[in-house]
């Protein structure tokens, strides 16, 4: 019964909170909300140990039959294999830390219980998504995650802007979901099942490599992944999703929602391996997204938006790895990213709370001395995001991707260059943020020092985002492959074309230099302000470019012009509703007939008799005519 308990506990507590959060007190809400996730992570650990103990054989549990029609069955079946164990552990443990932190962050919110009900539901849906044994159940979790993101992004619903952001997130991801639904229909049509292992087994026999149908299916799946993971061209919802409370952002970015796309592609890797075109598309999307989002992150003023663009960029790295066939590298980066991005978001949340909900980085500054605890953990998170060599988890996971994007069978020099450019940009935007917030002169008074409830999860995450890298070391540095070995039964090993220690050293050296160079540039830009930098910043067109990047490469304006405006225009034309005219006409005709019939009811007896007589004459005439004619 164990695997099913993992999502069942958060769902159960979400139900309790939804029904009774107004009647139970603050402490009870805290205990139920955090306790359920803690319990769930405990069960997840036990299940993980069981899977590890059984030589990583998957643990499958049939809970009940959900749908059964001739030719199609779908059950509530959970499957714990190496891949879903990794995701489940990250979701529950990082989710637990975020929950604990949120009890401090949301302390004074009047809708405290509603918040935790949605958070528990979010974690539960994500767990269903990663544990599902068939694609229909996965889709249930997939849509559940979408619903919860809507509820939580629009949590402070009294501000219309938040409601707008929530709707945007919901609708934009829905575009991808539609593509994914079509992919599921096609998979069912060809394989006759939605069971994931069966599909993965069958696809090899049904299609040859590069077949049109499988390519289309892979591209449609990619469409779903792109929507949920906020990749080009559907990334526009994520920066706006910052409207929700900060723990929500941490949850969306670190443990749930945006990683769903990475999971989906990794899960369906057999499909993607048969479709080289779709794999190339994945890699290109990843490479393009990581660069574009990096530039956007460079010029943001809102601290949370920097982190949002940074997430888009880091997920871009994961997509790049997936596109190159480096499946386990993508999952490895997901794990380390979950740690340091949750850390960064919650650190930013601590800063925001301390400054009385100030999110503009240009109004912060000098917080290094005022909030030393937050400063240190934030610095550790930033170092991990920037991939400072040797000591941070981000270094090991990101450099693996950068190296494999060139050396793997699906790799390309272009990907490698994009990855390196991304490394430079990451260093720049991350430390621009650090310098703006924690260095320089103090601009805002500190209002509230975050308590230990908020700081404990940060310390744990800071520890994790440092040591998590040591489970997978590159060839050049000891060659430990604990993580990829663990994933071996589910995800095939990456095919390496260019095996060369010297090249690997070179790649790591370049990316390390670029990351450190990014930090140096940020230092010049924000703190030192040398003449060359000020001159560079006053170049013509530079302001426009900054604005362009800040607006996310004007993707919103593009969609506005391409989709929203024409739609509004068409609906304006059709405001009187063409189709409705037909039905209105029909109703009017009927009304006219009614009036005519009512007119015959004159109340004059003799007209009635006349009517009866004329009718009788008509009937008799017809009768007689038929009698004699035929």
């Amino acid at each position: 019964m164990l695997p099913a308990l993992i999502p069942a506990i958060p769902f159960f507590s979400a139900c309790i909170l939804m029904l009774w959060w107004k009647r139970i007190n603050h402490t009870a809400v805290t205990v139920i909300a955090c306790g359920s996730i803690a319990l769930s992570s405990l069960v997840a650990l036990i299940v993980a140990a069981t899977v590890a103990g059984h030589d990583r054989l998957p643990l499958v549990q049939h809970v009940w039959q959900w749908l059964q029609v001739p030719g199609f069955t779908a059950g509530i079946d959970f499957r714990m294999d190496a891949l879903s164990v990794v995701f489940t552990l990250v979701i529950t443990i990082v989710g637990l830390l975020i929950h604990v932190y949120a009890t401090g962050y949301m302390q004074e919110d009047e809708d405290y219980g509603r918040f935790f009900a949605c958070m528990n539901l979010f974690v539960g849906s994500m767990l269903v998504l990663v544990m599902a044994d068939n694609l229909l159940l996965l889709y249930l979790g997939w849509e559940g995650v979408g619903l919860c993101s809507y509820l939580l992004i629009g949590f402070w619903y009294k501000d219309p802007a938040n409601g707008y952001a929530a709707r945007k997130a919901f609708i934009v991801t829905r575009v991808g979901d539609t593509a994914m639904a079509i992919a599921l229909f096609m998979l069912y049509q060809y394989t006759g099942t939605l069971n994931i292992p069966e599909i993965l087994q069958q696809v090899g026999g049904l299609w040859t490599r590069g077949d049109g149908v499988i390519t289309l299916i892979a591209l449609l799946l990619l469409g779903g992944a792109v929507g949920k993971s906020a990749q080009l061209p559907l990334q526009t919802w994520l920066p706006d999703a910052m409207a929700g409370p900060t723990p929500v952002s941490a949850l969306i970015h670190a443990a749930t929602m945006v990683t769903a796309g990475v999971y989906l592609i990794a899960r369906m890797h057999s499909v993607f391996e048969l479709a080289p075109a779709a794999q190339t598309t994945t890699a290109v999307i990843g490479a393009a997204t990581l660069v574009i989002a990096g530039f956007s992150a460079l010029v943001q003023t809102d601290i949370k938006r920097v982190l949002a663009y940074s997430t888009i960029s880091q997920i871009g790295y994961m997509f790049l790895a997936l596109g190159c066939g480096a499946w386990s590298a993508a999952i490895f980066h997901f794990v380390t990213h979950a740690f340091f991005k949750a850390l960064l978001f919650m650190g930013a949340g601590a800063v925001i709370v301390a400054l009385h909900h100030e999110q503009d980085m240009f109004k912060m500054g000098g917080l290094r001395k005022l909030l030393p605890g937050v400063f240190w953990v934030f610095l550790i998170g930033s170092a991990s995001l920037t991939a400072i060599p040797f000591v941070t988890a981000g270094f090991y996971s990101k450099d693996q991707i950068i190296w494999l994007s060139w050396s793997a069978a699906g790799g390309h020099t272009g990907y490698w260059l994009a990855g390196l450019l991304g490394a430079l940009l990451t260093g720049m935007y991350t430390f621009r943020m650090v310098f703006l917030v924690f260095y320089g002169e103090v601009k805002t008074k500190v209002h509230r020092i975050p308590g230990s409830v908020m700081m404990m999860p940060l310390y744990i995450l800071a520890f994790l985002s440092t040591v998590a890298g040591f489970i997978e070391l590159p060839h050049t540095l000891g060659h430990v492959t604990l993580f990829s070995n663990w994933l071996q039964p589910v995800l095939p090993a990456v095919e390496i074309l260019h095996e060369s220690l010297a090249m690997e050293w070179l790649s790591q050296l370049i990316s390390a230099v670029l990351a450190l160079g990014g930090i140096w540039l940020a230092w010049c830009w924000v703190i030192q302000k040398p003449r060359g930098m000020t001159e560079f910043l006053s170049m013509p067109g530079q302001l426009w470019l900054q604005g362009f990047w800040r607006r996310g490469w004007d993707m919103d304006a593009l969609y506005d012009a391409l989709m929203v405006k024409p739609f509004v225009y068409l609906s304006d034309i059709n405001s009187k509703d063409l189709i409705d005219k037909i039905y209105t006409g029909l109703a009017q005709l009927m009304e006219w007939c009614h009036n005519m019939m009512a007119r015959t009811q004159s109340g004059v007896l003799r007209w009635y008799i006349m009517g009866v007589v004329l009718g009788a004459v008509a009937v008799l005439s017809v009768l007689i005519w038929r009698l004699y004619e035929v």
Binding site: M597, A598, T600, Q601, S602, G603, V604, L605, R606, V613
Partner: protein
């Protein structure tokens, strides 16, 4: 001219019926309309009797009995209605009683 008695009887019935019908249609006095309806009923009854004698069957005469009984009932109800109408409207003109418009 030699007309078959049945044909003659039916012709008479037809003529009577049409006369009754026309007077129902053109009369405005409601008592005359009632009388005309009686004439039409009797014309129908005559046709039944003629047909009965033509086929040597008693059914037509039985039917005539029914018609008589019905006519009596109809007259009693009809006269009651006419009295009420006169009470209400102080006239016997049927066109005046047009309040039951659609």
């Amino acid at each position: 001219m030699n007309i078959h008695p049945t044909t003659a009887g039916l012709l008479l019935a037809g003529i009577l019926f049409v006369l009754g019908l026309i007077s129902v249609l053109i009369r405005r006095n409601i008592i005359f309309m009632l009388l005309s309806v009686e004439i039409m009923l009797n014309a129908a009854g005559l046709a039944f009797v003629v047909a009965a004698s033509h086929w040597g069957q008693p059914d037509g005469q039985v039917m005539f009995m029914f018609i008589l009984a019905m006519a009596a009932a109809e007259v009693s109800v009809g006269l009651a209605l006419i009295l009420q109408l006169y009470h209400q409207l102080r006239t016997l003109d049927s066109d005046e009683a047009s309040r039951m418009k659609g």
